[in-house]
């Protein structure tokens, strides 16, 4: 059995899943930060 496809799919799904989640979160962060005032972002 050629094992490489399984391995590549594993890595693709892992990295892809994390990337998609992160990207969507940062996009929401950006759009939301534009509507929220400075004092509602105490970490800045």
């Amino acid at each position: 059995m050629n094992q490489w496809p399984y391995i590549l799919v594993s890595y693709a799904l892992t990295l892809g899943g994390i990337a998609v989640y992160t990207w969507r979160m940062l996009r929401r962060a950006r759009s939301m930060a534009a509507t929220v005032s400075e004092e509602d972002r105490p970490w800045t």
Binding site: S10, M32, A33, S37
Partner: protein, 260 residues
Amino acid sequence: MTSPDTPTPSAAGASASGGAVRRPTGTTFTRWLGAAALVGMAWLVLFGLVLSPDDALQKKGVRILYIHVPSAWLAYLAFIVTGVSSAAYLYKRTRSLIWDRIAGASAEVGVLFMGIALVTGSLWGRISWGTYWTWDSRLTTTAFLFITYIGYLAVRGLGGSHHQRARRSAVLALLAVLEVPLVHFSVRWWRPLHQQESVAEGKLDDLMLFSLFVGIVSFTLLYVWLVLHRQRVLSMADAVDDKGLDGALAARRAEQEVSS
């Protein structure tokens, strides 16, 4: 997720005029954290896909373990964090919405990593055992945990005031803590003879163990990075709700001018 009501321009504050905010949820700390996580992940991918030698027992399957083990570990860590911060919210002295947001952020990240762990785990199983799934107690518990926290996230989205949401989901998270050991032990009794898929079983050399260690560390850093950002996004979403309330209140009070 539906987008919240568009807040009034007055609520938007100073940053709105400049358009996009350069670092919406980032700080210097998270920047370093993210960089460290990225370096670790890069090493992990490089080692896992290219450098790693095949394992004597698991052959190439060991390559999946470099990402499977850290994600599974992370998912469990995330749910522990959810449970602890839920308890912290319910405990009167430490009651704060920040615990609720951390619990929510952590559960969301946990579901992501648990999904990854399940998929990579079954792919690994296909290589090593020749089957995608076995009714092993660890696997089964993980699957139940996955579904339970999907339900938890659904309940978080039910609406209500911030504190209503927080209390409801915190109680639910604690009930999940009650559920997990029961599911685990019942499955274990049910199928006592299962294959131990322990990492220690294979003969990993030092570099392989080191890489696994790097994986766990960098995934943990990534987790902290994700939860910090997610929690800040949730905090902004709550703030938008509150600010939206100011605008809505003004509009609501204006109704009387129209009617009289």
